[in-house]
């Protein structure tokens, strides 16, 4: 058997949904709410946390992280990983914690609205 046929599908291949633009910041903030983590760890946590329904495009993850650092919502530190590798860890700042609350509320409003529309209220007969 060729090695390829034995492997598990990667999340991308499992056709997990691409993270909607604009929600990545919220997901990052939420993930880091648990504790400091490096970029790879954030990817893994988002993927496993969403039961592999969501995948993170690395090409947007790092620019987003840098942007959040620039905005003062995150700060970064170089640390040892559990496997003694050097990695850049990100953690929430006080402002980041505050922003998480806002973003979450905004998201909840948005998704409730979207769900309501999709569920089809009385005025919305399809």
């Amino acid at each position: 058997m060729s090695p390829t046929s034995r492997r598990h599908p990667t999340p991308e291949e499992a056709r997990g949904g691409e993270v909607i633009k604009g929600t990545l910041d919220l997901l990052i903030l939420r993930t880091l709410h648990v504790g400091p983590m490096h970029g790879w760890g954030i990817t893994e946590l988002i993927e496993s946390g969403s039961d592999n329904l969501l995948s993170v495009n690395q090409g947007s993850l790092y620019p987003a992280l840098y942007r959040l650092v620039r905005k003062g919502l995150l700060r970064s530190k170089w640390r040892q990983t559990e496997n003694n590798r050097r990695a850049r860890y990100y953690e929430l700042t006080a402002a980041g914690r505050e922003a998480l609350g806002h973003e979450r509320a905004t998201w909840e409003r948005l998704s409730r609205g979207v769900n309501l529309v999709l569920a089809g209220g009385p005025e919305c007969e399809l």
Binding site: T4, T10, E12, G59, R67, K71
Partner: protein
Amino acid sequence: MRTLRRLRELARRLRGTLGRRRLEKEMDEELRFHLERLAERNLRAGMSPAEARRRARLTFGNLEGTRERGRDEQRSRHLEMLAQDVRYALRLLRRSPVFTAAAVLTLALGIGPSTAVFSVVDGVLLRPLPYPESERLVAIEALGYKGELLHIQEHARTLRTEAVGWPESFDLTGQGDPERVEGVRVTAGAFHLLGVAAALGRTFAAGEDRAGAEPVVLLAHDFWVRRFGRDRAVLERTLTVDGMERRVLGVLPPGLHHPFAAPEVVLPVAMNPADAIEIWSQTAGTLVARLHHESSVQSATRELASFLPAMRASFPWDMPPDHGSGLTLTPLQEFMVGDARPGLLLLGAAVAMVLLIACVNVASLLLARGAARREEAALRASLGATPARVLRQHLTEALVLAGLGAVAGVALARGLLALLLVWLPAEVRVGAIGIDARVLGVTALASVAAAVAIGVLPALKARAFALRAAVGAGGRGATGSGRGRAGGLLVATELAAATVLLLSAGLVLKGFAGLLATDPGFRTEGVVAATVSPPLYRYPSDAALRALHADLIEAVAALPAAEAVALTDRAPFSGRPGGSVFVIEGRPHPASSGGGWPWADLRGGVSPAYFDLLEIPLVAGRTFSAADGAGTERVAVVSRQLAANYWPDGDALGARFTFPGDTAVTEVVGIVEDVRWEDLTGPTPGALYLSMAQWVSRGPVDLLVATDAAPAALRAPLRAAIHRVDDATTLAGVAPLGSWVGASIREPRFTALLLGAFAAVALLLGAVGVYGVMAQAVGQRRREFGVRMALGASHAGVTGMVLREAGALAVAGVGMGTLAGLAAGRLLAGHLHGVAATDPMVFAAVAGSLGAVALTAAWLPARRAARVEPVLALRGE
């Protein structure tokens, strides 16, 4: 909170921009870490290592794109662009080292003097005195008797008053060589009033300024270091000051200057309130007061004025009715440095002018360079540089130049300041003067302003050009005449500024030359002067002191080098002026008549040889002889001016007068010519000379020795001779009498020399500016000259044309400057010493020389214009 966050973001962006390399490295490492984890996961999923890596890279996507976007997120575009502009500017400047050196040097010549002079102005005029709430400190003018001080201390509700005496010298004896130190007496609460605490031990306590209190002394920090090597045990010692043992109470903090001049020891004023004669005849010094919080200068002045009648009535003798009428409260700082203000402001204006000229010069250099860089600008514009970007690039270049100029200027300022501090009259220095953060901050601001000044015109030109290039009108056709006009305007401005500066310097220098040429009225050649301070405590009686004076004259006269010797209690320009009122016999007493009191600006005791030695001519009567001693009738010699003031009918000889509070009658026996006393300008002082043997002076005396020997060679024998008479006598200031006179014009000399130097710089820069602009204009108009010559213009014609243009600029510039100079004349009042602010000779000389310099500077470019080969020029570049 929000501002803080913004600041933090800015700092992060700055770090992002500056730490570019580190940032890249970190990002690479982070992305590699991610890739490796991806590959690791693929491996665990069972792929081959190569396959795992390949798929990881595939999954990751466009690595370079991620890096690019990451970079964008981390850096500020603006700062990035600025860094690029700065690098570009530096590269450009490196490529033309001569231009860069000229511009930086010119700016340094502008910024250096400005920085140095500003640091002096700041230290003297702008910075508050180094005392807490120093704005509440005032000096009380026109009062100062001990009795007045005591009265104010007892009754005043609006302020607290203490006294600071005049600088005095004290003899230290008892340990090692006797030493003469500078000191001052203050009242007990003076330090507390100022807010000065002792660095070691304590300052005076209440009551320590009363007669009969324990004798105590405070040491200045420098003196403590020099004499006691920072020994803290000094507090357990005593110091023998003027023969009296005094307990050392404490050491004053370092750097304590005003209002104490720079004392080495500080003694308490001794006052005995019960002794009416003492407290109403002796002054305590300058009255220094601290206003209470609820009172103002006005209310305090009103209160003090209300004390005047009571105080006047307390004197045991009649005081002139106008005594105290000049009562004024002056802020202490102004009181101390007020005299220096006009001079410093004048110098400040002068350096500002030099800076302006330097900026104009560099601006025209940049303008000329901008013209030469047309090709490059066109290229940049066609490659898509926006006009805004071009503008910014040029301003950045100016900023970089100004920055380099500032660095060189500050280095120059350090040297200049050292010179300034040597020349600066000592009494003006109230605090630390130096190039500190505050001065550097102002220099930085000035440099930014200079950058804008030098960069804005060339930058606008370049932007306009970029705009034209953008619409396709660039290239050779766009040699507008506008740039030439701008250059001409700059040169005219520069010449105008140089004219103002040269006019001011010319007038002040002429005034100073007049001062130097002023005849003081006495011989200064071949006379050595020295101040002799005998230990007065050893000579309690007048008779003993009189004998000492005679012995001193005899001992010095015995020196082979001494041709003649005279003694006086105050030689001309000794810095110890002293006048006196007197009462003329046979006239209504001024106290009762209400008339003015006769006043002699100078009351000096002199020995018989004095007038002959100083070659002060006798006008009438006789001078003193050895016979005019104790026990004979008291005699006086008056100066021609004093005689004219009070005996206008020529009846001075034989007139008799007394001094208030003294019954001895003195007769005028001679009239001598006037001499200058304290200064070389102003009204001629009226002098009253007394015989030293009849009016014994209890204080230092000045020795005048007529000699061919150099002062340096005379010092040791002089000291030995004096020590043979009394080994505790000290000798100071052994110098030609001429140098004593010279010391009186220190401040005018300071101002005149500096103004002259700045004017020379302005002249040099002006010449360079004219040359630069004319050379540039000629270079640009090669084709035009070629055409003219091809059409038959002669060499002389072309040369003349260029010179005429330069001449027009010079006339415009010098004309504007002359008008400004006439207006600025008011600033010079007080520095001219008799020269009119519109002195036609100075104006003519300045206009003539600047015109000549401008034409000379235009001569070289004009000759170059005449040498243009018509054919080559027409054929084009």
